[in-house]
């Protein structure tokens, strides 16, 4: 028995030595290392501002970790590193909808005291509000995003129409254009079951005066008449043949290609489309314009607020250095440089009318008009679950498996159960 115990001890000891020996590769470098993870694609685009930062701050090594290109995979990577309690990251580069989740989980540092209201007022309201959770600020906006209506100026002029304001306008103009064989289809949007469906629906919901979840009271409005009317509008575009049946499988790119090939008069999409649809090889180049989303008469437009910003991990060893990175990256100068290089949308108001930027992107003043109408997806901690529920039932309504009433009733019920109401 003695030798037996010895055997186990030896095995355990060897294993332990190997494990510890390999695990603890000491890391002590002179400049303080600040780590942040982002999609590989965007990491490449950050290159020049990172170099700029390191030049001005030789004591900080801003290290960008390349992640997968799907943003949900990046979210997963952040989540698991926080869950394990040993996060290798100091900053989180986050999509606006991650904020409440990461904040509620207690993984982020409150930044309210580090930035004044005056400084914050220079950013677009929706971007700032999307960074708040329970009245604390966890995310400083870097680049913004919002949904809007793209339309074909040439077609509208030819038939003598004004750009549509209301859903009735959109239906009427679409019908007319299709009857006169100007286009094959009237309106294209994102109807696949994925996060983009929720983003698109938030805008329609706002345009019909409805709401999804009230973050203050946790009330659910999905089975209210306004919400059902909003779903009715979407299903009607399919039934009336204004939208191609394929939209129930479309994401942004499918919609863009459809619009860019001149097959449709109106499209709901994000700002990135502008550059591509106006490229030299685009059949609709120079024939398009943007405006805030359509809405029901008597209500206002909504633009789903998207965008990315920086938050600070609450276990970081270097909060001061991390904050200096945030300040630099979100500053006016960096944003301007980044926008000019990449064509992304800034989060600071003044940049939309900046002469250099307008010289390059003439539509940015209009874009600001859209951004100011932004609505948030519900900033609640359990947003991901709520969104998945909505996507599932919206999709069943769009594909005719459930009636709009039935789908929204079930979605509302499940959401209430989720929120414990």
């Amino acid at each position: 028995m003695r030798s037996n115990g010895g055997f186990y001890l030896a095995v355990a000891a060897i294993a332990l030595v190997l494990v510890l020996g390999i695990h603890n590769l000491a890391f002590s470098q002179r400049p303080v290392k600040v780590n942040v993870l982002m999609q590989a694609l965007e990491a490449a685009q950050w290159q020049s501002i990172v170099e700029e930062f390191e030049e001005q701050n030789p004591d900080i090594d801003l290290h960008i970790v390349e992640g997968p290109n799907a943003s949900n995979l990046v979210e997963d990577l952040y989540t698991s590193s926080f869950l394990l309690g040993d996060s290798p990251y100091d900053l989180v580069y986050m999509d606006i909808v991650w904020t409440p989740k990461f904040a509620a989980a207690g993984w982020l540092t409150d930044l309210s005291d580090r930035i004044s209201d005056e400084e914050l007022s220079e950013f677009i309201d929706g971007d700032v509000n999307g960074g708040r959770y329970n009245d604390k600020l966890y995310r400083i906006p870097f680049r913004s995003d919002a949904g809007m209506l793209y339309y074909r100026t040439d077609l509208l002029e030819a038939e003598g129409f004004e750009p549509p304001e209301t859903v009735e306008d959109l239906n009427r103009i679409s019908q007319a254009l299709m009857e006169n064989d100007r286009v094959e289809w009237g309106y294209v949007w994102q109807g696949k079951q994925y996060e983009g469906l929720s983003a698109m629906f938030v805008e329609i919901l706002e345009g019909f005066g409805g709401f999804w979840i009230d973050p203050e009271t946790q009330d659910v409005g999905l089975d209210a008449p306004e919400a059902i009317a909003a779903v009715d509008f979407l299903t009607n575009t399919l039934e009336n043949g204004i939208s191609p049946p394929g939209v129930t499988t479309y994401q942004e790119e499918e919609a863009r290609r459809f619009f860019q090939n001149g097959k449709v008069a109106f499209m709901r999409n994000w700002p990135y489309v502008w550059t591509l649809a106006n490229a030299d090889d685009s059949p609709v180049a120079g024939k398009i314009a943007i405006k805030p989303m359509i809405h029901q008469a008597g209500h206002g437009s909504g633009a789903c607020q998207g965008g990315w910003g920086l938050g600070m991990v609450n276990t970081t060893q270097h909060p001061e250095e991390a904050w200096r990175v945030i300040e630099f990256i979100t500053s006016r100068a960096s944003q301007k440089q980044f926008v000019l290089e990449t064509g992304y949308v800034p989060s600071r108001r003044s940049l939309f009318t900046d002469p250099d930027i307008v010289a390059k992107y003439a539509h940015y003043p209009q874009l600001l008009e859209v951004q100011e109408k932004s609505v948030l997806r519900p900033p609640i901690a359990q947003y991901a679950q709520a969104s998945d529920i909505l996507q599932r039932y919206l999709s069943s309504a769009l594909t005719d498996r459930l009636s709009p009433e039935e789908a929204m009733r079930k979605a509302a019920e499940e959401t209430r159960r989720l929120l414990g109401r």
Partner: protein, 302 residues
């Protein structure tokens, strides 16, 4: 030296030998499952800022009305049943072929094991590539055969995505089934067939009347293992479709995983683990019962 003394020493030695293994098993199997039972009585999610708040059976009430969960149960059942049946049929066919004598049989038997031994996650990548809508070899073959004109988006269509993951799973695990069945085939005495043939039975009759009944224990055991593994399938789906498109290939395991990892809904995730565990135990108990019956009747028969 008295007899009871020897027995005591033997018993002590036995325990010393068994205990370390048992402790590890308890730590990795019993603790997580026991913990899931306990945690399922609490709400611990982002709504409670990850604090555990006792909430009785409310998680189970939520499961009842959770469309995504039932969707995943339906998907998992379809996946498991179809894959299992195909694996048994192909596994049996391969085992019968490998049981014949031909030149190079050893090599072919070795090759037939390879799919089983490879990492599922990695082979899932290979299958994703085979099913690729633009450059995939499957579409290419179908087009060369003139069966289709344009590439099929296998993983983008809900029904076809399910077909695709089933095909990949059948490829991966049929060899396991055929290994077990081949071992069973080899243990059937050859003279049984000879006697049967003298009585004028056709090979098909021999297969029905000798092979199948005698192979029943192996078939049931293979089914049991395959059922349990299919029911918990994770790697393959996670890599190939991630549960999409539109939840068409979302399996119970993926739903549990995202409930915990993405939603951070720990209490509810625990309740899902408990329900899945109970379903599994029920099916396993039923199969054991069948196995017992088959073993008895086979013993009487021959």
């Amino acid at each position: 030296m008295s007899g009871s003394n020897i027995r005591d020493r033997q018993r002590l030695t036995g325990w010393v030998l068994v205990t370390p293994a048992l402790l590890i098993l308890l730590l990795v199997y019993a603790y997580p499952i026991g913990r899931a039972f306990w945690l399922s009585l609490f709400t611990q999610n982002l709504g409670t800022e990850l604090e555990a708040v006792f909430s009785g059976l409310s998680n189970y009430a939520r499961i009842w009305g959770d469309g995504a969960f039932w969707n995943s149960i339906v998907n998992t059942t379809i996946f498991t049943v179809v894959a299992l049946v195909l694996e048994l049929v192909f596994g049996m066919a391969i085992a019968l072929v490998l049981d014949r004598s031909f030149r190079g049989r050893g090599t072919v038997r070795t090759i037939a094991i390879i799919p089983w031994a490879l990492p599922t996650a990695i082979m899932a990548l290979a299958w994703t590539w085979i099913f690729n809508d633009r450059y995939g070899v499957l579409n290419d073959i179908l087009m060369r055969l003139g069966l289709i004109d344009t590439g099929i988006n296998w993983l983008g269509n809900p029904t076809l995505a399910m077909v695709s993951v089933i095909v990949a799973d059948v490829w991966k695990t049929t060899s396991f089934v055929s290994i077990l069945l081949l071992a069973g085939l080899q243990s059937i005495p050859q003279d049984l067939y000879e006697a049967h043939a003298i009585e004028g039975a056709t090979p098909w009759q021999s297969f029905r009347q000798i092979t199948l009944p005698l192979l029943m224990p192996q078939i049931l055991i293979a089914s049991l293992f395959r059922f349990a593994q299919s029911f918990g399938v994770f790697d393959l789906i996670q890599v190939m479709t991630g549960g999409g498109p539109a939840g068409a290939t979302e399996m119970v395991s993926l739903y549990i995983y995202s409930t915990v990892r993405r939603y951070l809904d720990f209490g509810y995730g625990a309740a899902l683990v408990v329900v899945t565990f109970l379903i599994l135990i029920a099916v396993v108990a039923f199969t054991f019962y069948l196995l017992e019956k088959v073993r008895k009747s086979a013993g009487v028969d021959i």
